[in-house]
Amino acid sequence: MIQDIQTRLIAVAAKRFKRDPSALKPSDDFYEALDIDSMEALSLLTTLESELGVEVPDYEVQDCRTFAELAEVIARRLG
């Protein structure tokens, strides 16, 4: 399940910021890989909530740096 979420998360992020999803890995720092700042990361969170149908309070993801860490938080919320 976690791998599915990672894949979907990367696809959503790549689409949001117009990147090639095949160039993104779960272990990537998403700030660097997507070349985004903290405000754009917030926009990513909003898109993820909408696309994945999950509510994620931002304090749960504020220490996440990689796609894999973000996917873990989302997986916990999805149960």
Binding site: D37, S38, M39, A41, L42, S43, L45, T46, T47, E49, S50, E55, P57, D58, Y59, Q62
Partner: protein, 279 residues
């Protein structure tokens, strides 16, 4: 700072101050100018009903969002400069109090405005920006919008009237979640809990707000004005309490330290200030 256009009986005010329309002294002055313009248009309506003002739309021309709230850097710099001039804490607090009086004047004027006020929002709607949206009658959000009160991270509470207006509009579970955790809500969740009237596609909030304003325009202004007054209870006592609480907290040392940390943060855009250390 604020572009104002009146067309088809609707006044459209577009906030334009990079990075995200922070409310410092220049934006405050522009907002006061906006209120004067709205009041002037309404007065003119009494003389020339054919040119009546039917609604106000407030939006942002800045890509990152509607408004990120109070200009914390200006607040910090003014406080530091006053301190360096040897001004007492009382004197510095009085300056903040004067700013609060003025911004409350703006928020109360919009809240009590005779014609409906519509906030067309996107992206960041934080702190004072959230409070500005709450002073409107309708919030139309594009799906990128995100709402939060990050003030607790500075050791403060919202001070522009946000708590009474949030309590007026939403249930306790959401009010407490927003105020006590400092979390943000996405547009869709905000719509589910009744904060947002309509969620629209990215980039469409202004267009939908204008169509909504045209719908409002079809009804008699007098009736709309009375209906608005009827559904908005008087908040003056709670607004005064919130203002007093803000000023009480403002005088505590951790707030000054938190503002200094925020000011020193050189990251691209620290959308939320660092959490104040527990004392």
């Amino acid at each position: 700072m604020i572009d104002i256009v009146v067309q088809d009986s609707v006044l459209v005010a577009t906030l334009v101050r990079e990075p995200v329309n922070e409310i410092g002294t220049p934006m405050l002055e522009a907002l006061e100018g906006l209120v004067q313009r709205i009041e002037g248009e309404i007065e003119r309506t009494a003389v020339a009903p054919s040119r009546r003002l039917a609604a106000v739309v407030i939006t942002s021309g800045v890509k990152r969002g509607f408004c990120a709230g109070a200009d914390l850097r200006e607040l910090h710099h003014q406080n530091r400069a006053a301190k360096e001039r040897g001004e007492t804490l009382e004197a510095r607090t009085a300056q903040v109090s004067t700013f609060l009086d003025r911004i409350h004047g703006v928020m109360n004027a919009l809240d009590g405005c005779q014609v409906p006020v519509i906030a067309a929002v996107h992206g960041v709607v934080f702190g004072g920006g959230f409070e500005l949206a709450l002073a409107a009658d309708l919030i139309i959000a594009d799906k990128t919008a995100r709402f939060a009160f990050p003030e607790l991270r500075l050791g403060l509470v919202p001070g522009f009237g946000g708590i009474p207006r949030l309590k007026r509009d939403l249930g306790n579970a959401v009010v407490r979640d927003l105020l006590l955790t400092g979390r943000s809500l996405g547009a869709e969740r905000a719509h589910q809990v009744g904060l947002v009237s309509q969620v629209v596609a990215e980039g469409q909030s202004l267009a939908v707000a204008l169509r909504t304003a045209q719908q409002v325009r079809r009804f008699p202004s007098y009736t709309v004005g009375l209906a608005k007054r009827f559904i908005k209870p008087d908040l003056s006592a709670e607004l005064a309490q919130e203002r007093a609480l803000f000023l009480q907290l403002w005088q505590l040392p951790p707030v000054e330290a938190a503002l200094a940390r925020f000011d020193a943060d050189t990251s691209a855009m620290p959308y939320l200030p660092a959490v104040v250390e527990a004392t």
